[in-house]
């Protein structure tokens, strides 16, 4: 085995875990699926047990991994962390050096933990984690230590700020909307050399196939930049919102917002609108697709601490993302 096991953390697999895993596996149509569900369940439970030791709240029952229909129709091993997002807990057997990561888990995860399961010995090793995946296969050599997972979850908690009702809620909107703190993206990038990936935000490469990026996108500017993307769905149309952040001066950030279609060789549909609104709900700048564009782009400048909102509209669908610089 090529993976360095020094960092691996060995934890017991309790009788309750074994029973639950076996029970879930019995609902599956094939032996292969039964094996997979059993291992996925063990990986989730061991991770859950570890996070409980660390005083990190978990909600086992709300994961797809706990829903028998989802177990049958998708290969998921998710663990809900209330207030943070879902952690994917992938099992591997001893003596492998890579971990398969199914495509249906590439989105909507705050991280991926790899758990080596030794059923005969009734124990498992938390080999490590990555905040994001870029491929169907994860090399175990890329894994960071369990301690790095703890830091990552802590940073996620810090990066999400919830403003009181008065500031952001409009009539009919649920109050306490989550704000994405952009300064934190930049701060973490400067500190670590590789930015922490926040809940829902992934690298551009994960959200769009490299071949789908239009040439204009490839333009790079000087200075420290952080670029993150998120998929948004407006009815049947799926787009990627790309946020490009650059520190232009001491208290000045340059923010570029782009909308790209997800489908290869596609254009943005006629009528798709991208707008930026300030804290008083006034539209600062907007752009509307005519059906001829590969992507839409808006640029704004602001100082750290300033809030703004991005709205993407198509027909009757609306997606909103709230930010504070």
């Amino acid at each position: 085995m090529t993976h360095d096991t020094y960092d691996a953390l060995t934890l017991p697999i309790t009788q309750g875990a074994r029973r639950t895993a076996l029970e879930f596996s019995q609902h599956q149509p094939t032996p292969t699926k039964a094996d997979r569900v059993r291992l996925n369940t063990l990986a989730v439970l061991v991770t859950h047990d570890y996070l409980q030791l660390m005083d990190i709240p978990t909600d086992l029952a709300s994961g797809d991994s706990w829903n028998p229909v989802m177990q049958a129709c998708s290969d998921v091993a998710d663990l809900e962390l209330p207030g943070l997002g879902r952690l994917e807990c992938r099992p591997v057997l001893p003596t492998v050096d890579r971990c398969p990561v199914p495509a249906e888990t590439w989105e909507d995860r705050v991280g991926y933990v790899v758990v080596q399961v030794d059923e005969l010995a009734h124990e498992a090793q938390i080999l490590g984690f990555v905040p994001a995946v870029t491929d169907e296969e994860l090399q175990l050599s890329e894994l960071r230590s369990p301690e790095a997972l703890l830091d990552h979850l802590y940073e996620l908690r810090q990066a999400q700020t919830v403003l009181p009702n008065a500031m952001l809620a409009r009539p009919g909107e649920t109050a306490g909307q989550v704000l994405t703190n952009l300064s934190n993206w930049l701060n973490t990038a400067l500190q670590q050399g590789q930015a922490a990936i926040e809940s829902g935000w992934q690298t551009v490469e994960q959200v769009l196939n490299a071949g789908e990026l239009s040439p204009a996108y490839a333009f790079r500017r000087g200075g420290t930049t952080v670029r993150r993307a998120k998929r948004l769905a407006l009815g049947e149309v799926v787009v990627a919102l790309v946020v490009d952040l650059r520190q232009a001066a001491e208290a000045q950030m340059e923010i570029r917002l782009q909308l790209h279609p997800i489908a290869a060789d596609a254009r943005l549909p006629n009528g798709l609108q991208l707008s930026v609104l300030d804290s008083s709900d006034a539209v600062v700048i907007d752009a509307t697709a005519t059906g001829a564009e590969d992507f839409l782009e808006l640029q704004i400048d602001g100082a750290p601490g300033e809030p703004f909102r991005v709205e993407v509209r198509f027909n009757s669908s609306l997606e909103t993302q709230a930010f504070v610089i």
Partner: protein, 209 residues
């Protein structure tokens, strides 16, 4: 005292300098767990892992107010607790064995109660996956066959659900077959098909708690 014991003690001291739930405390507790694991008492009893997990819970909760470094090493302190838990499990198992006539024991020494044993699910209850298959094939509202990837009307939720459920066709194979990139397929599946599956699971009362 060995070097390892000195190191463990240092980590414990450092952990306890930070508040519970703080990343610094979590990190140092993790370091201790990793290293002290190999110094703990081992048994092959079926309940060993449960006793060990209880020991870790006890460790994380009490190391900063229940452990006196002057009385011995961290490993000694943990082993004492572990052995008490193992003893409790052992006594409990003896009591149950003597009172249940029909208890059987498998190779691992795990007592399996004949009455409460893992039931054969294939008996009278229709397996969940068969219900999902029936539901997807019937597609009563036509929704599953209507939902498709834009530009690819033949790639519907109904098709993907049945392919993933029954033959476990890989995303790679589906991508090659339909000429749709994997991220597009999986994104569509996750956003449009999985929520319908989830709702079906909930409406059938399948969600475990």
């Amino acid at each position: 005292m060995s070097d390892i014991d000195v190191q463990l003690r240092e980590w414990v001291t450092e952990a306890c300098r930070h508040p519970p739930g703080s990343p610094a405390r979590q990190r140092h507790l993790t370091k201790v767990i990793r290293v002290v694991s190999s110094k703990l008492w081992r048994e092959s009893a079926a309940y060993y892992q449960d006793a060990l997990q209880q020991t870790w819970v006890y460790f994380c909760k009490n190391i900063c107010n229940g452990y006196d470094p002057n009385l011995g090493s961290v490993a000694t302190w943990l082993n004492a607790y572990l052995k008490r838990r193992l003893q409790d499990f052992y006594i409990d198992l003896q009591k149950r064995r003597s009172s249940e006539v029909s208890a059987w024991q498998d190779r691992d020494g795990e007592a399996i109660d004949m009455i409460d044993g893992l039931a054969d699910q294939r008996g009278d209850v229709e397996p969940i996956w068969e219900k999902v298959k029936a539901w997807a094939e019937a597609d009563a509202t036509g929704e599953l066959s209507r939902l498709h990837i834009e530009g690819y009307p033949q790639v519907t939720c109904q098709v993907l659900i049945l392919r993933r459920l029954l033959s476990e066709t890989s995303w790679k194979a589906l991508s090659q077959e339909y000429g749709v990139p994997i991220p597009t397929l999986s994104s569509f599946y996750r956003r449009q098909c999985m929520p319908r599956l989830r709702k079906f699971g909930e409406s059938e009362g399948y969600v475990n708690s």
